[in-house]
């Protein structure tokens, strides 16, 4: 059996399908058990190290981008793990750096300190590379103890070997489940309009999925649909709405909101994508149906959601 060695730069020319994640770094790109708790300081230190090793000139600018990006969307992956990344034009391979900390790096307000930080530099010409890497990492880092175990390792070589032994092979493509977010708010089929309006107002969302007792997706209620219930076609025909300046149709809705079941305003026109479908399928469905959300399902069961703006952000910016 071939002894594991440092096999770097296997991911050249933007093709990273089937590549082992450990090939993106070597023990020299690992900062073990750092005492620094400052996230931005760690970013700087690691980027400087990677820049030296790979001849990256724009590392300071990359550092600035990284800090701003993590302020907006902290790239957390499970418990105590962060996988920030930055896209660079000057590289044509994925480069990674690993930082471990036993005390934990302070990553942001209300966020658990991070014990494992994997910083990735991704070629700009490979928009899916980061998501493919994230997909491989997320499968290996599902257990909450992973961060503890890696942060206990004493050397860069041990850390590298851990990654190698976990068999983190990058998938051929990014799946829908790799880019989805968990569904934070949803409605049950027996809920009333009153609850839907409460959730719309409280969470500032545009639409809410409705599930049955088995958590199967059965429809959505959108704020737009709600508006159309108050102002149906036959009212919209009128040019002069001065007679309804006091929102009479809304008052009517308010009066009966606790008697109106969601089924009355729920629509079955929504986009679903299987969790194992390629992520590009999400883009296709969103574009084809001009929808703002794609619901990710396992069979009929709702497992996540991809919002259009999050999709664009993940593919083009984050």
């Amino acid at each position: 059996m071939k002894k594991p060695g440092f096999q770097k730069t296997a991911a050249s020319n933007h093709k990273i399908n089937g590549v082992h994640f450990s090939s993106f770094f070597d023990p020299g790109q690992v900062i073990c058990q750092t005492d620094t708790e400052d996230r931005n300081g760690i970013f700087r230190e690691m980027l400087e190290r990677l820049a030296r090793q790979h001849g990256i000139a724009e590392w300071e600018k990359a550092c600035q981008v990284l800090v701003e990006q993590e302020e907006r969307y902290p790239a957390l992956l499970g418990s105590q793990i962060a996988v920030p990344h930055v896209r660079l034009e000057s590289i044509d391979t994925v480069v990674a750096g690993v930082v471990t900390s036993q005390k934990g790096i302070v990553y942001g307000k209300g966020v658990e300190p991070v014990k494992l930080l994997i910083l990735m530099l991704v070629p700009k010409a490979a928009p899916g590379a980061y998501l493919q890497a994230l997909s491989a990492l997320s499968k290996a880092c599902q257990s909450p103890e992973v961060a503890e175990r890696i942060s206990a390792l004493k050397s860069g070589e041990e850390v590298w070997r851990f990654f190698y032994q976990q068999g983190m092979i990058l998938p051929d493509h990014v799946c829908a489940c790799d880019i989805m977010d968990p569904v934070k708010v949803k409605l049950q089929e027996h809920d009333t309009l009153e609850k839907a309006i409460d959730l719309f107002v409280r969470h500032g969302v545009e639409e809410l999925p409705v599930v049955d007792k088995d958590e199967d997706l059965i429809g959505i209620v959108s704020a737009h649909e709600l508006l159309r219930v108050c102002l149906p076609d036959y009212i919209l025909w009128m040019d002069d709405v001065s007679t309804i300046l006091n929102f009479e149709p809304f008052a009517e809705l308010l009066r009966k909101e606790n008697k109106t079941w969601l089924a009355e305003i729920m629509t079955s026109e929504y986009v679903t994508v299987g969790e194992e479908a390629p992520a590009i399928q999400v883009a296709k469905e969103l574009a084809r149906s001009r929808a703002n959300h794609a619901y990710i399902v396992r069979g009929q069961r709702l497992v996540g959601v991809v919002a259009l703006e999050r999709f664009l952000s993940r593919i083009l910016r984050e």
Partner: protein, 498 residues
């Protein structure tokens, strides 16, 4: 036609169109028709077949067809302009603008809200309202306008009650087509027949001879539909009752200032209804006021709402449809110009010589099945000159009823059907299958045609003859004798019937 259609598929259709048209042209040649007659027949069938096979290209095909007729020296520019029937087109423009204004003023909102807030609504009551509303709205503001507004009501009620809208939409369409026979405004076919027969018919003629038949046909159809869709109606009643128990309505209600719009509609209808008296009083040609009334009303409304005037003309007038009508009228006019229709009329005369009582059902059957598969305006535009040449008043009503009632037979039978299907597809992404429609359409179509035929046969002795309508000395009962290439002469029917 689908945009994804394959080239071989299109090629086959083109071959079918060419094959049928050239065969019919050959038939015309075999019947000893002259060159211009053969060309006009061939191009006419080419356009008809092409519009059937390539519906989305119908206007383009009609433009090319007109070009072909002119290029082959069968149609000249003055004849084309005359045959475009601009009077009919302008009447429709005026109506479309007026309806657009009435819509914005809330007339149709008020009507729909009137139905929605009806107390103790049941399935049966809803269907009865739907049938009469569809029919009478078609009488007042044409079938397409009627179906657009009534379909919206159906969708509102069915969405609220979570019911399948198809049965109720079909009920509305069937009633709309029946209602469109009631007045001259009910259907473009009505205005075309009324304006183009010799002498032109008055609005009052429709109210006297066609409206009562329409009401009888509508009532019988209502009972038929109540039976046919009894399960859906029962389910609707159950859901309505459940909703009523919860104190919930069928949709939001707002206060609508409907009086102005209702006044405009009633005023325009009054204007149109009194056209004959006004024409006599002002010494105008027949139907001048009838044609001009909607235009004048539209003009006044456009001055009143001047900031929206351009919108009414650009958005509310169906220019695509009107241009298609103009081209078809011109193509059909070529048949008349080349005396093809005269030849057909002579054929009818010879075939039914001495059996004039048979002509009414024959015209009705031909019209019903013709308009079931061909756009009814196309059918009437081409068949009207033949019926007009036969010179019998009952045949005009047979053509009107046959065409409009025949439109119920298939889902492509009338413009109202196509508009309703389009609305259903757009809203629910579902469609009605041909046979789902045909099953009820053929029953309603046949029964309504039978009733209409019976009524026309009963009323025939009381209908004014062509000569009476022209104000010529009265001849008791007349039948026309057509002599090819000569003026029409009248003979006493007593001499030709056994």
């Amino acid at each position: 036609m689908s945009g994804e259609e394959t080239t071989p598929h299109m090629g086959l259709r083109m071959l079918a169109v060419l094959g049928v048209s050239l065969s019919l042209g050959g038939l015309a040649h075999w019947m000893n028709m002259d060159r211009s007659q053969v060309i006009s027949c061939t191009v006419f069938f080419l356009i008809i077949m092409s519009t059937l096979m390539f519906w989305t290209f119908r206007l383009a095909i009609a433009f090319i067809g007109i070009g072909a007729l002119m290029g082959l020296n069968v149609l000249d520019l003055p004849t084309f302009i005359h045959e475009c029937k601009l009077d009919v087109i302008l009447f429709l423009v005026g109506m479309m603008v007026t309806v657009g204004v009435l819509k914005e003023l809330g007339l149709f909102t008020w009507i729909i809200q009137g139905v929605i807030k009806t107390h103790h609504m049941t399935g049966m009551k809803f269907v009865m309202i739907l049938v009469f509303l569809s029919a009478f709205m078609a009488c007042a503001v044409d079938e397409v306008t009627s179906i657009i507004f009534v379909a919206t009501l159906v969708f509102q009620v069915c969405d609220t009650l979570k019911m399948r809208p198809t049965p109720f939409l079909m009920i509305s369409v069937l009633a709309t087509n029946i209602g469109s026979t009631g007045t001259m405004l009910g259907n473009p076919v009505g205005i075309l027949i009324g304006q183009k027969v010799t002498p032109p018919l008055k609005f009052l003629d429709f109210l006297t001879w066609s409206f009562p038949i329409m009401v009888l046909v509508l009532v019988v159809t209502l009972f038929l539909l109540l039976y046919w869709y009894r399960r859906d109606i029962h389910l609707l009643s159950e859901r309505l009752a459940a909703r009523r128990e919860m104190g919930l309505g069928l949709g939001p209600l707002v206060r609508v200032p409907y009086r102005r719009s209702l006044g405009i509609l009633v005023g325009m209808l009054g204007f149109i209804a009194l056209h004959h008296q006004m024409e006599n009083w002002l010494g105008l040609a027949p139907n001048t006021v009838l044609i001009v009334a909607p235009l004048v009303v539209a003009g006044v409304l456009m001055v009143w709402r001047r900031e929206r005037a351009r919108h009414y003309i650009e958005a509310d007038v169906e220019w695509w449809t009107l241009l298609f009508f103009m081209m078809l009228f011109a193509v059909a006019g070529t048949l008349e110009h080349t005396r093809v229709t005269e030849r057909i009329a002579v054929g009818f005369q010879e075939a039914f010589h001495g059996r004039s009582w048979l002509l009414t059902p024959v015209i009705m059957v031909i019209s019903a099945f013709g308009s079931a598969f061909v756009d009814n305006i196309v059918f009437v535009a081409s068949f009207l000159p033949v019926v007009d040449r036969l010179g019998q008043t009952p045949l005009i009503w047979a053509l009107l009823h046959g065409t409009c009632l025949g439109g119920n037979i298939t889902l492509i039978g009338s413009t109202a059907n196509i508009v309703a299907l389009g609305m259903l597809e757009k809203r629910y992404h579902s469609h009605i299958h041909f046979f789902e429609w045909f099953r009820v359409g053929i029953v309603v179509g046949l029964i309504s045609c039978l009733i209409a035929w019976g009524c026309i046969a009963l009323l025939s002795p009381y209908m004014p003859t062509k000569a009476q309508r022209m104000g010529e000395p009265e001849v008791p009962v007349q039948m026309m004798e057509i002599v090819p290439d000569k003026e029409v002469t009248y003979v006493d029917v007593e001499k030709v019937t056994p």
